[in-house]
């Protein structure tokens, strides 16, 4: 265990998102839903933290073809050699998307983007119009098929009025589309968005309306703050609860992971 200095113990909003995402992965892995498709950044940090905190641990799958990666430090890109060197299996890109994702072997997919709407659809393509974009974003990558096919999708994004919009400028990844029944009508096999983990708390889709509702808030965050930072008329769940404070064990493991990187 590393010696945690007081400054290292200051919990940032990134830490909050990472730890809360890691907890969800721990719970899912315990329920036998361990195969997790991760991208670089907060999802990768959360997944690697979950591997250190929970048993059974999640199985980390990266779109670069790494299955069952156990990196000793945080990878800097999905092509980091460390991921391949520590994997159970390394497969080609066509294989990762066909045999593994499309075939339904992924339990949990992590996504983020520039915009998220109230039905959990995500935009990572353009701000503005497609033909004359105000901001050209990187584009789809693996996201549309992760959103369509993963057993469930966890979104990690900062909650701001600009990013949490009533309707995305472009629908790159399908959440619940226009609302109830839309996924079913399109024949999508995955479960869709299950949780949105933000710097303010957690949103979950209402089972009837599919609209994202604030169900959890981090300590010290108010309902007004959540509403103010959301671009649609956000509902706060009646039984909204406060997320558990980050424990010493969690923050120590996270700092250890970060310092090894």
């Amino acid at each position: 265990m590393v010696n945690v200095t007081p400054s290292a113990n200051t919990i940032s909003t990134d830490d909050l998102m990472i730890v809360n995402a890691a907890r969800v992965l721990g719970t899912l892995a315990a329920a036998g839903k361990a195969a997790c498709f991760v991208g670089i950044g907060l999802p990768s940090t959360a997944a690697n933290l979950a591997r250190r905190l929970y048993s059974p641990e999640p199985v980390l799958i990266y779109e670069s073809g790494c299955i069952g990666s156990k990196p000793t430090r945080l990878p800097l890109s999905i092509g980091d050699g460390e991921l391949a060197d520590t994997s159970d299996s390394v497969v080609s890109v066509p294989e990762i998307f066909s045999y593994w994702l499309q075939a339904g072997r992924i339990d949990v997919g992590f996504l983020g983007g520039a915009q998220l709407d109230k039905f959990g659809n995500i935009n990572s393509t353009v701000i503005g119009s497609y033909g004359k974009p105000k901001t050209r974003l990187p584009g789809a990558g693996g996201a549309p098929e992760i959103a369509a096919t993963a057993g469930q999708v966890i979104v990690i994004m900062r909650q701001t009025k600009r990013a949490f919009v009533d309707r995305c400028d472009f629908r790159t990844s399908f959440g619940f589309g226009d609302g109830p029944g839309h996924r079913e009508r399109l024949g999508l096999r995955g479960g869709g968005p299950k949780l949105v983990i933000t710097d303010l708390g957690v949103l979950e889709p209402d089972p009837e309306t599919c609209e994202l509702v604030q169900t959890q808030m981090h300590r010290g965050v108010t309902a007004e703050q959540c509403v103010e930072n959301t671009g649609w008329k956000l509902r706060i769940a009646k039984n909204v609860f406060t997320t558990d404070a980050v424990s010493d064990r969690e923050i120590n493991a996270l700092r250890e992971l970060q310092s090894a990187t």
């Binding site: 779109e63 999905i78 980091d80 050699g81 998307f97 584009g139 789809a140 472009f170 024949g187």
Partner: protein
């Protein structure tokens, strides 16, 4: 049979103005040296295909070599925006480029179809997304056996595919390992192919998880050690993360980018002289 050629000669022979080219390497084994040589030779009007048009295509786009880009994710991995790509799409600089946009799963299916001699690939993909409305290269078909609706995407068959690999033997058989991306499919889908390698050896020895692309499906093999830099070749070099970070500043504005290309690409004769000019140590493995 692959010919062992100088990179300069291979590019001159196989990459023409107006060619459809694919340069692949999924974060690993990215053929940067070959990209530089295309810029040096001033190729124009290329239809450039790549799943992840990262730094190597940012350079080609900014240098004015590309008129059409087919891709699925255009960013600087782990860093942020791809500024030259954005400037081209948002402001038509240095000129307008046409884009044909897909997802990774769709691009992979397109290469597999191309490598398999099929006219299209099939996948469960794109359903419900706005990508469908932006290109005619995503269509719906129904399964002839179950009537299920699926997505069809046309095969990719580039004029030339360029990849980087760890090594080749003197016959031109190519061996690569580690993250294999979509390189084998991209080579087999293409009419001709160029492979730059870290070293050329007398005899290839098996490597766990590796593949060999036989000489008779490769057009040219070129010895360019460290030719993937700032990407890497597993077993030979490490990814140069600081170079990826510094690219953000270089590419951010048109002047600094143009100056960089002038000084380090147009102003150098080959990859070794490029490496000296940007101060990277070229060599890692012993290849005589």
């Amino acid at each position: 049979m692959a010919e062992i050629l100088e990179l300069k000669e291979a590019i001159a022979r196989y990459v023409k103005d107006g060619s459809t080219i694919a340069m692949e390497g999924f974060t690993h084994l990215i053929p940067h040296a070959a990209g530089h040589e295309i810029i040096r030779q001033g190729r124009r009007n290329l239809h450039a295909i790549r799943m992840t048009p990262d730094m190597v295509y940012d350079q080609l786009i900014g240098a004015g070599c590309v008129s059409k880009l087919t891709f699925s994710w255009g960013g600087n991995p782990g860093v942020g925006s791809l500024h030259r790509f954005r400037d081209a799409v948002e402001n038509n600089w240095p000129h307008q480029i046409e884009i044909e946009e897909h997802s990774h799963a769709g691009m992979a299916a397109r290469y597999v179809a191309g490598a398999s001699g099929l006219p299209f690939g099939v996948l469960r993909g794109y359903v419900g997304t706005d990508l469908v409305d932006q290109t005619s290269s995503i269509k719906t078909i129904s399964c002839p056996f179950t009537d299920e609706e699926l997505t069809a995407v046309p095969a990719l068959n580039p004029d030339v595919t360029i990849i980087h690999a760890q090594r080749a033997d003197r016959e031109g058989n190519v061996q690569l390992w580690g993250l294999l991306g979509v390189q084998r499919e991209a080579v087999l889908a293409a009419k001709s192919s160029i492979v730059t390698v870290e070293e050329i050896v007398d005899k290839l020895t098996p490597v766990s998880g590796g593949v060999v692309i036989p000489s008779w499906v490769v057009s040219a093999v070129c010895l360019v050690s460290n030719g993937a830099h700032p990407s890497y070749a597993s077993g030979y070099s490490q990814r140069d993360n600081s170079f990826y970070k510094s690219w953000d500043d270089i590419a951010k504005d048109r002047e600094s980018f143009t100056e960089w290309v002038k000084n380090h690409i147009s102003g150098t004769t080959d990859f070794d002289s490029f490496s000296r000019s940007v101060g990277i140590s070229a060599l890692v493995s012993a290849n005589g």
